[in-house]
Chain length 342, copies 2
Amino acid sequence: MEKETTIYDIAKRLGVSPTTVSRALNDHPAVNKNTKQKIYEKATQMGYRSNMFASNLRKQRTNTIGLIVPRLNSPFQSSAIAGMEKVANEAGYNLIISQSLENVQKEIANANTMFNSRVDGLLVSLAYNTESLDHFEPFINKAIPVIFYDRVAEHKSCTNILIDNIQAAYKATSHLIEQGCKNIVHISGNLNRNVYSDRLKGYKYALIDNDLPFEDSFVITNTLSEEAGIEAAQQILAMDSKPDGIFVSNDTCAVSCMKTLKQAGMSIPKDIAVVGFNNDPLTRVIEPNLTTIDYPGYEMGEVAARSLIHFLNGLSDVTITNTITLRSDLIIRDSSLKSKLS
Amino acid sequence: MEKETTIYDIAKRLGVSPTTVSRALNDHPAVNKNTKQKIYEKATQMGYRSNMFASNLRKQRTNTIGLIVPRLNSPFQSSAIAGMEKVANEAGYNLIISQSLENVQKEIANANTMFNSRVDGLLVSLAYNTESLDHFEPFINKAIPVIFYDRVAEHKSCTNILIDNIQAAYKATSHLIEQGCKNIVHISGNLNRNVYSDRLKGYKYALIDNDLPFEDSFVITNTLSEEAGIEAAQQILAMDSKPDGIFVSNDTCAVSCMKTLKQAGMSIPKDIAVVGFNNDPLTRVIEPNLTTIDYPGYEMGEVAARSLIHFLNGLSDVTITNTITLRSDLIIRDSSLKSKLS
DNA sequence: GTGAAAGCGCTAACAT
DNA sequence: ATGTTAGCGCTTTCAC
């Protein structure tokens, strides 16, 4: 293994000082163009590569962004990450990724690792059962920006990036009502998570605004997993007065619920209209295709990364920007179109 | 922003040398137990965190694994990454992730970034159109282990991790033949990529072994995207002698192809039986459910990361282990079960 | 079992 | 426009 070329080696060969080499390589304006050129060439020729550790050690910066997600392998998260990677990469930042697997303990451990890795900033989508944000305090105390996206929580020093979940759920529910549904069940996740509690609110508001009663017994709370969808369908099938519409807080659960209902002989949307949330690829495969909320994962990832990098460049202040809301739309497909049947 | 605690601060407070502190914190055997204990306590109390840059600079190691994937947001890749993250995290390694977006140029750029970031090792799934492996030579020259997984290529100094694509495709095709198919179309991707050329081989061998003719005109090569599936279906619908079976090299394409065929009035599996590849979640939603090859993404990620870490710990040698093959199985579902119809 | 000293490679203050 | 100097925080000889 041959020795690494350093700026000293280049300096010696060219008879200049290491400082000049360093400056040239960083494209410092106060270096003569010719000198710069010469240094570039020599560096390439000698196979020089900058030592980021020395540089980081000196600059006390890492050019690294930390990311903590519940799971990497969901269509939404992987799209968001794809968007972040693109932005971060273009801006010269590395992305360090870790998953909490929906477990606060792991999330805390990951946060600590990120802290020790001295990330310049942190992007977080919270685990299912995270309640306290104490594990992010070390970052905040050190003025390391923390941005939450999708699964967010209120914190005076953090920015949140999300869609208007209340409005989206309101649109979804209103749509079901427009289609003639009178008894709409809502399947929701952990109500401590903003995304789910807001969607429940939107559902409730839409009912109220349309003079429909809101009943607790029509709200099913579970983990929104594939299995949970099957169980929810069974609960629905066992209900005395069957609903004529279902609004589910995510597509995975909506799809498995639909499948189970269909197997039990229910016709969709005739007997029960269904609306999901996320616009996962699945929604265009299930029959009938699932009406859903288009959740812009990739864009959310881009925005999150871009905002963080802005903060890092001092172009804006995390503590001031509180919330960034992205647009989201209802995509109407056959699973909810009762009107089309007539 | 308060100043960071260093080992010097701890040393001073305890009246020992920085060396001892360093050793204690690294659990060096030659440090007195009591001293160690005292140092641990003080460190925690002072909120000490190790400076990885100083340490890396000194040790010339980074504890970081680089990962280059075509895209982050495919069910297979995100599962694989989830598996890698788990293993890497448990072993105390960070994962730096970047995507080539199926573009060699970006892959080369990413490889360079990884090289400059001095990753200890590299995990790679190649882009669609990568042919030369020159951009990995810098790693190989520096004895930095490179492991390819899924989309692999032969290189004397790299390990490949994959499933037996030939065998899997052979099983898939044989299954169609057993179901009575005589004219089987194969939809494939870029034949420069091992995964696709091997699957084509398996298809071909199965035909030959069952005395069925192999015809070039029955092999459709495209990008295996959702759109490509629609086009492929149209090609099939336009064929003079229609096939009675299709073996597609991935599920996304298989599903959209199926959808299109169904819309055109074809009955599946009666008119045409279909088999996909990957076992994406989609396959259990499309109707009829898609027969496919179970591709163990999560496990492949785990194995890839674990192997790399083994190499890094000197427990094995990349240049010796050439190929690690994982088990894969045919999952039979209704899309191919003609026999069930009778 | 512990410590002194040197140096990993880079950059920023200061000087020229 | 360029150079001198010092130091970022850690680990590792080597010495005791």
